[in-house]
Point group: C2
Chain length 383, copies 2
């Protein structure tokens, strides 16, 4: 298999794009990534999206976006793994290039969530849960995370305030990211006073519903070097799964799929966790950030939240996370977030992260989670 | 890249499975394919499905099916390309094995359409069209095909009766297929009298809405040979695309994406059209079968329907199609059909097609179409 690099990135600012259709959001990100890579026509487009059928009554989105990006004719397939749909598209693009089958591929994540009629988005997001054993009973996806957070607090003896560090860090890091939706720093006091959504999950524990699109161009590392392009290598790409329903897990508070995918990624790259200069994790909820840190192996069970309490996750901490705002403050256009994470990791590794730039940044990990931990996609990138 | 073979097949009879959930249909087909391949645990499951979000409020279906098939932990990603979703899953599985990344992968197609509340399935299927320029105006997917058929008849001077051969052939071939939904031969007279759905598309021009699931196990050909398994080689796997909206096409009556994907498949395999012993095409509507034969190159423009009129498509004709019933008489569980086609091609190439068996059968082509021609996936298989 061939060594693969990301040679171009593109993104639309995350926000409420009521004046842009799903297809146009996708096409804008694709075209931006192609311009960045100085490529005119890739051989394939893999497009990650979760909700196009439910919210836009549109399927076959990959072909549609390819056409609107001026790429009619190329291979185009949509990938879906709930909120990990975008990362899954990158996984497919990586396979297509690593295999030797194609030389230039675009992986896109795109989602449009904010202008659906009231309540529909919440109902649609519940499809990330088990429809028969969870969704059918009327529980929303936020409520499921509320159950997880409550259980964690009960099991390990934490207070709600202990999770504040995740939100404070994410919002602080989003201030300088022009593509983030919530570019306003928040105080621990603001976190404390935030409106409760599904106790104990408050507004500031949750990432926001948003529209957005991000894309990366993948090519063989050797080709990129020949053409003198700034290439960021994909050192590992992996997927792990677990039950969709939370009550079916072997351990309610352990993201087994994260452990599996991280172990696979480390084996593939020959790296260790201590080699990671940062970790773009899936902070859709503060409890999920906590559980990710633990399952990935960065913290022991019950100690993930301490990394936020003690500042280890800050830009100058031992393991910076959400370095440009994360899902929390960038906003979470679900099927696109996995690609935004990778775009931002490339920005860090290229030294193009502006005021969010990490010093001495060589290797980073990204991780995207579908459902409450059912499908977890991990990538390791290196400059 | 490695030579890849299909070493196992599994299918659930196409029909109305009101007593089986989407996940169970999928798991049954996966387990049947694994048993056929004498494999216990594949490394990945790629699951093609179009409508799980819209009709079952369930996303992340690949992880869900993997879990219910006892495969928790493996890589699992859903592919979607409207009615070509299943074929797209086989494409991904083929890439994963051809790349050298994995040794055993399952590709599944699964769909559940028959027990949604009245009208919802028709609305959901319209998502295969362009939501903004076609679906929004209230046109159903059948009506779009009606426009195509009317235009074809007008342009080339055919009568509705001229299309009868497609349905008569498909139904005749389904009689001996225990997995087909409509195992009853029909006469040209029955075709003539069939109820009109969307003039000129009648009930017997259309494939039926259905539930179903089919799966194939992919592995390196060399491994299969070592283990003495009956391997059917994947000689080519390709995808081509076109605009989603029909009015945007360069030629309304030419499936450009089919031409692209067939040309790619022929180049990959080094074969010619005349090498094909049969063609499992996407006869969702008789007009689509016609256009497929033309765009693939088996008939000149305006002459595809003649292959049905003259019997060339029969089991003893020059190019047998729908050899075990096709979408028309097998039934069309949309995201699953692409895999049923490949399963049946394997049955033919193994000599296990029963009374539908073609003599001297060495190489066959399958082709699955997403939307009215937007995404077209072609495979060439050989014994």
């Amino acid at each position: 298999m061939r060594d693969v690099s990301i040679i171009g990135i593109g993104q639309v600012p995350v926000g409420e794009h009521w004046n842009k259709s799903l297809r146009l959001l996708g096409a804008e990100a694709v075209l931006a990534s192609l311009a960045d890579a100085r490529v005119e026509r890739p051989e394939a487009l893999y497009a990650g999206n979760m909700l196009c059928g439910q919210l836009s009554n549109q399927q076959n989105l990959a072909a549609l976006v390819a056409d609107y990006a001026g790429l009619r004719g190329i291979e185009a397939i949509r990938t879906e793994a709930a909120c990990a749909s975008g990362a899954a598209a990158v996984r497919m693009g990586w396979m297509a290039v690593a295999s030797g089958l194609m030389d230039v591929v675009v992986a896109l994540g795109v989602e449009k969530m904010t202008d659906a009629p009231g309540g529909r988005t919440t109902t649609a997001l519940a499809a990330a849960a088990d429809a028969v054993y969870e969704g059918e009973h009327g529980i929303s996806f936020v409520a499921l995370n509320g159950l997880l957070m409550r259980r964690y607090m009960h099991e390990y003896g934490y207070e709600h305030d202990d999770f504040a560090g995740f939100s404070v860090n994410a919002h602080a890091n989003a201030v300088h990211n022009p593509n983030a939706m919530f570019r306003k720093a928040i105080s621990p006091e603001a976190y404390r006073r935030a409106k409760m959504i599904s106790d104990p999950v408050s507004l500031l524990d949750s990432s926001g519903i948003a529209d957005g699109a991000a894309a990366v161009v993948l090519a063989p590392t050797a080709h990129a070097q020949e053409r003198g392009l700034p290439a960021v290598r994909v050192l590992a790409s992996s997927v792990g799964t677990d039950s969709v329903a939370i009550h079916d897990r072997h351990e309610t508070l352990f993201l087994s799929a994260a452990e599996i995918s991280v172990q696979r990624a480390l084996a593939q790259s020959g790296l260790r966790l201590t080699d990671m200069d940062f970790f773009e994790l899936h902070d859709a909820f503060t409890i999920i950030a906590t559980l990710s840190l633990e399952a990935a192996g960065f913290a022991p069970r019950g100690q993930g939240v301490r990394m936020a309490m003690e500042g280890a996750i800050a830009l100058d901490g031992s393991l910076p996370i959400s370095t440009m705002g994360g899902l929390k403050a960038r906003g979470h256009p679900v099927g696109a977030s996995g690609v935004y994470q990778i775009v931002e990791a490339v920005q860090q590794l290229r030294g193009e992260a502006g005021q969010s730039q990490l010093p001495h940044c060589r290797v980073g990990m990204t991780q995207s989670i579908g459902g409450s931990g059912a499908t977890i996609v991990t990538h390791i990138l290196g400059s």
